[in-house]
Symmetry: C2
Subunit: 162 residues, 2 copies
């Protein structure tokens, strides 16, 4: 029943932050960007054993969207030639709750610092959680995505290799 | 620099909730559980186009952990025969920020309701975000996980098929 869950404000705190060379507003080929995730000292022991995983999922806070408004429908990558789809059918940073998640390659862990590749977060972005990427559950097969997305990726590949 | 990010409390709101047959404290073989995710009417249009994806990632709020404390180190699945590892090296529900994420099979969308399979959330759990599962980014290859996790999964398989 919709009445049975509390309609309250939920609170989070950053557990650390991102360090890299990409400033807000800058363009980047994120797959190639190496970042440091600096976890606050009080949580550092919580990383023990993470180095046995090749990939981790980073949940971070989209603290610098270009626009505070969250439209319900968006053109992916703000491209007018892409269909107008619901925000939940995209990874747009402008969403009702400004949460992002990205799977990254874990290069190394040094104490409270994770060295990762492929994190699409600007320098100083607050980090909320780190989870191991699992071959069961996170790694899916027989996955279907829309045609517009395949076309978008193809065009981005062409631009990147130009 | 660690001083450069605001150490403030971040706020979220539920966008909907889970409906299924599993009550808190109950055991379930989650892979086989079908759930409805009921999105609040104000956000329903944000789901448009999601039906073209076979899988979606659900971010939800762990509102009913058995214990409010979040230990830094845990035995996976509370099993003493498993190594003591950092909470960020596990998917334990007791974590500094009570965020969970699960990739589920999207069976159907009907207006503001998503029918999904494999969501490991109890009935009435608040939902924070829905994201499409992407063949690029979310679907990783050459993934390594620790030996203890492979052993845990093998034993769980045996128990399930018993």
């Amino acid at each position: 029943m919709i009445e049975s869950y509390p309609s309250k404000v939920l609170q989070l705190q950053p557990i650390g932050h991102v360090q890299n060379q990409v400033q807000p507003g800058q363009d980047a080929i994120w797959e190639r960007i190496d970042s440091r995730i600096v976890i606050d000292e009080e949580w550092a022991d919580g990383l023990d054993g993470l180095e046995e995983f090749s990939h981790v999922i980073v949940i971070f806070w989209l603290d610098r969207p270009q626009d505070r408004e969250s439209p319900l429908k968006v053109h992916p990558e703000a491209r007018r030639d892409m269909p107008l789809v619901g925000v939940f059918a995209t990874r747009s940073p402008q969403r009702p709750n400004p949460l992002a998640l990205t799977t990254v390659k874990l290069l190394a862990r040094e104490g409270n610092v994770l060295h990762v590749r492929g994190l699409d977060a600007f320098d100083a972005t607050p980090v909320l959680d780190i989870k191991p990427y699992l071959t069961r559950g996170d790694q899916r097969t027989r996955v279907r995505v829309p045609k517009w997305l395949l076309r978008l990726w193809e065009e981005q590949d062409r631009d990147t290799n130009r």
